[in-house]
């Protein structure tokens, strides 16, 4: 079965995590390159079990992982910035948010300033509103040669399917994520627009790809349609991962054509 690239990158993380559970080591020694969709789900293992982590033999790959996971490293000429960790208290979030906004660099790229700030704001707001996280990470990686940027959000909190179950919705995991993407809110009928609008704006408006995995469900969406995924017990994610793969050059759009 051929999966979209974002799904393949997630499956790669699933396999590495499974090896860690089985063997007790996270062995990335053969890794030549790592996408945010693979790195973020593995980041907790790297942070919490550093003595059990074997970095890539490839110096560029090892250096990349070390740089992005080191909050104090900075090089504005590079195509990547350190992973931004969200503070537990939203009152301290202004500086981290500015760092994430700065990932765009050229305000005409990746959907334009309004679209970029909109999706970052809404997805970070969802993390604070719903997840009860102890760790939340945002990662941006520009792939100039490939012509896109990956913007990834990860939190280790309550998953979307669990949130729906808490409120009495008996959805299967992937269907719960689908409902969330369609704008069903577990808090209020007047809410639920952030994720929905972000999805519509970026896939329909800007030709981006959108991947979300939460608990034992996942959804991939682009401007051609969507696929739902059921993750087996050992493939599930404790928390939520969202990656948006945004073309560098996008049509000029008005976000208000998509905000409902």
């Amino acid at each position: 079965m051929t999966h979209p690239d974002l799904v393949k990158e997630f499956i790669e993380a699933v396999n590495y995590k499974s090896d860690f559970v089985k063997n007790g080591t996270l062995d990335l020694s053969e890794m030549q390159f790592i996408f945010p969709t693979t790195l973020l789900p593995l980041s907790e293992i790297i942070i919490n079990n550093n003595d059990k982590y074997i970095p890539p033999k490839s110096y560029p790959a090892a250096n990349y992982i070390e740089t992005v996971m080191n909050p104090s490293s900075s090089n504005l000429m590079k195509t990547y910035v350190p992973i931004v960790s969200l503070p537990k208290n939203y009152r301290d979030s202004d500086e981290p948010m500015k760092k994430i906004f700065a990932m765009q660099r050229n305000k005409d790229h990746f959907g334009g300033e309004s679209a970029f700030k909109y999706v970052v704001s809404e997805l970070v707001d969802n993390i604070y509103q719903h997840s009860r996280f102890t760790r939340a990470l945002i990662m941006g990686q520009r792939f100039d040669a490939k012509g896109f940027i990956d913007l990834s959000f990860y939190d280790n909190g309550i998953t979307i399917p669990e949130t729906f179950r808490e409120k009495g919705f008996g959805h299967e995991a992937s269907h719960a994520i689908r409902e969330a993407l369609n704008g069903v809110s577990t808090k209020d009928n007047d809410r639920g627009f952030g994720l929905r609008t972000s999805l519509n704006l970026f896939t329909t408006g800007l030709g981006a790809e959108f991947f979300i995995a939460s608990g034992n469900g996942a959804v991939f969406s682009d401007n051609k349609g969507n696929e739902l995924y059921r993750l087996t017990e050992d493939a599930g994610i404790k928390g939520t991962l969202i990656t948006i793969r945004i073309p560098k050059i996008t049509p000029k759009i008005d976000i208000y054509d998509y905000v409902e």
């Binding site: 979030s93 707001d125 627009f193 952030g194 519509n200 469900g217 996942a218 349609g225 087996t232 050992d234």
Partner: protein, 102 residues
């Protein structure tokens, strides 16, 4: 009448719902006077922030008015205030299974 400079009280980018409490729990609102909220220098606003702002504004005993609203910020408030029907964006389908070693 008291004026509250929003950019100084919150941020030039109005992102998070929780930020709204920084406004309506501030000292300016404890003085029982009408409040002008100055949006000068505001660069962006999320729909979530705008929605939360309007909810809090409605609950105030005093009069609250926005001034110097950039046109795109004003548009967000207008959208939030209008009624919505959410159509289906993500179609239902039978989920494919993902496990390890695929």
């Amino acid at each position: 009448m008291i004026t509250l400079i929003l950019k100084d009280k919150v941020s030039e980018d109005l992102s998070l719902r929780n930020m709204v409490s920084n406004i309506f729990n501030s000292d300016e609102f404890k003085k029982s006077e009408d409040v002008l909220i100055d949006f000068t220098g505001i660069k962006s606003i999320s729909r979530s922030f705008a929605h939360e702002f309007l909810i809090h504004k409605q609950k105030q005993d005093c009069k609250v008015m926005e001034i110097n609203l950039p046109s795109d910020i004003k548009k967000m408030f207008e959208i939030v205030e209008s009624t919505k029907i959410k159509s289906e964006l993500v179609k239902d389908s039978v989920p494919q299974e993902i496990g390890i070693l695929q």
